[in-house]
Symmetry: C2
Subunit: 455 residues, 2 copies
Amino acid sequence: MKAMINIKLLKNRRKKLAKLINFPIVLWSGKAPSKNFRANHYPFRASSHFLYFAGLSLENAVIRLENGNLDLFMDNPHPDSTLWHGETPSREDISQQIGADNAYPMKALKDKIEGVASIAVQDNFTHAKQREILQRSLSMKEELKDIDHQLMKAIITLRLLHDEIALTEIKKAVNVSVQAHKTALKSTKDCATEAQVRAAMESHIMSNNMTCAYNSIVTVNGEVLHNETYNNELKSGDLLLADVGAETALGWASDITRTWPVTGHFSSSQRDVYDLVLAAHDACIEAIKPGGEYREIHLLAAKVIAEGLVNLGILKGDPNTLVEKDAHAIFFPHGIGHLLGLDVHDMEDLGDLAGYEEGRTRSDRFGLKYLRLDRPLKSGMVVTIEPGFYQVPAILNHPKFKEKYYNDVNWEKLKQFSDVRGIRIEDDILVTETGAEVLTKNLPTQAEEIEEMMS
Amino acid sequence: MKAMINIKLLKNRRKKLAKLINFPIVLWSGKAPSKNFRANHYPFRASSHFLYFAGLSLENAVIRLENGNLDLFMDNPHPDSTLWHGETPSREDISQQIGADNAYPMKALKDKIEGVASIAVQDNFTHAKQREILQRSLSMKEELKDIDHQLMKAIITLRLLHDEIALTEIKKAVNVSVQAHKTALKSTKDCATEAQVRAAMESHIMSNNMTCAYNSIVTVNGEVLHNETYNNELKSGDLLLADVGAETALGWASDITRTWPVTGHFSSSQRDVYDLVLAAHDACIEAIKPGGEYREIHLLAAKVIAEGLVNLGILKGDPNTLVEKDAHAIFFPHGIGHLLGLDVHDMEDLGDLAGYEEGRTRSDRFGLKYLRLDRPLKSGMVVTIEPGFYQVPAILNHPKFKEKYYNDVNWEKLKQFSDVRGIRIEDDILVTETGAEVLTKNLPTQAEEIEEMMS
């Protein structure tokens, strides 16, 4: 609650919104969900749309925006609450802190909702309240009221291009995450389990009073893309994949992945594939510029990976033809990255509305269907670049894939790479007016640098 | 998911339930709530009642119990899920692991719900599903269907007295928490902030593949009873209060508080009050025995604290009279402890139904209204003992309290204790057939031992 807030820049966001829409809007912050009983709740995390305009994480609060003005609706803490939670700022204090134009108790909200647009929050308790107060549905799945849809598009227009507050916060999150990864590299030799490496990383984030932007992945089974268990011991010969990113107190995310050998030394097969993934990573970052198409960056990664796998003897044939038939996706099944901002997959609560340029939809091609972003790049966007190589049993052993790609893969040769289960290298990139700034540049990517840092 | 499960003991629980009720029951495990978008969820934590009979944390699962038999309802993972989550056990695998008698897909549930009792889960999404499938309400607040109430009482009867699985798990959680506190004591001199101490403690828990049973309290403002911020620097003269407990993978909790001087040395005023809180702590543990009343333990703590505060010159008058008028509660406003089990406040999702013996209700006396447990103690119960001393501004400056207790407090003398904002000492106690076993006994409580461990 003590974060410094730049009211002038916050008011700019509110004014910019007023230029895009001509109706009032109401945004809820949400409420921490209960875990096993009401008083034992998960840590509160405010809705990102609320955070964007309010600038502060406030539980059980609502803001109403109209013509650039912000009204805050929240109740003062119950008098008994001071016993359990200490003195907390009053509505008036908070109203000043965030530069609200008016502040009201929550009960006043019901008289200010005529003609407002809104967006559903994630927690079902508050979502039910939203429906009750607005007396209509806000679900993404149902036919949206026109103004809700216009609101989403306006917010996307703003949140796609990061202002100074956003970049300052993202860089703070990035710096702490970079240090967390460095801590992991330096301490892996003292760790016996995935859980210990995870603890070393999250401990650094927690020490800095930040939270994790998403559930960490710290695994020797990097081929399980969303692995959230940490039960394995680290064994000589294992690669460890760590996808860990911090989130600041104001809600801004970072998202970084590195993969390293638990012994501190890549085997030659690991090194070959690592260098290939890194080549794809570097080529993609090199190609980022305003006006460029993110989908092309994805296809560039696919091509570099296909070429490299042909050179390693794992894939057979012409790289371009292999990419056209999605053969690269056997080993690189996910997209090259996504938007990053208040959400680690920024604005994914709006489905593909933020990730996909108007008029575009997801491809059903195996090599494209998991691409989360298909827009022309603009200066001010922050995206991740995260190519990978994985040996996913569910793909390699799947009869459909096995049949389709049987002749494209040298299955004997592939056996020589059995110690390469999953590699991903992920950085956070700001699109600038002239190209790209790698926000995560202080964390090494080169295999030699990684080995040196571990020694 | 790899935890070892004692099926025989689990089946005992199911059989014991069948002796207490003569109708079928259905329990839902729940679902991880979304954080800022659907794929970014909080860590899953199954409903405790489900965990008690199923023995394994399974998301989106339901069990039906009748006559000691257990039917499992859950869907196999979607084929696409193997790409993101790897190979996960099938319904049949899990059914074997937990000793289910039958296993069905979720859609079969709707034909097996006639006449079943149930209990509401915490997550609102699953709660809505419960109401939809049962076609009735399960809210605690509304008039309960008779069988739901009978089910609650039967489950309370079982969960009040811990079996071997429970005790083994609670002891595991306790041991990891004890080590976390020791780590904190040893590393405080290297820490500059509350956040760093918290990180050292939670890192130990995480390293052991456990989670926190509740949001940690690690604060120099111990007088804020449920403080969940960690922003303060540690300053010479501060006491640090840490209330941190681990939870095992099967959901069993521990709950430990220690308070120590950040410099490693108590001031004489801190030491005086610390020793007084410890005297209350020791007296309460000494008094625990089967057949004893927990309310009397609470009042014993109140009396020891009142006596000690009179001896220190902070309170004036006869200790018994002071306790009768709740003057001790100015400085010790909360209850002496609570049940501990699958929940850190065990079964608090059932309101006071578990904490309060049938026919008893909460007192509205200032000195008793926050007491969470009022039952005769029985061998097999696990309770916390956690006396404290706090200078809560919301109490000390409250006109009502100020007026009522003006002549009971020596306000001038109290100023000499201004460096004692909050002290609590909390241990986890198993009621045995002959008295009490302090499960947390490996963590020192004596001031000298604390100072020595910090040096």
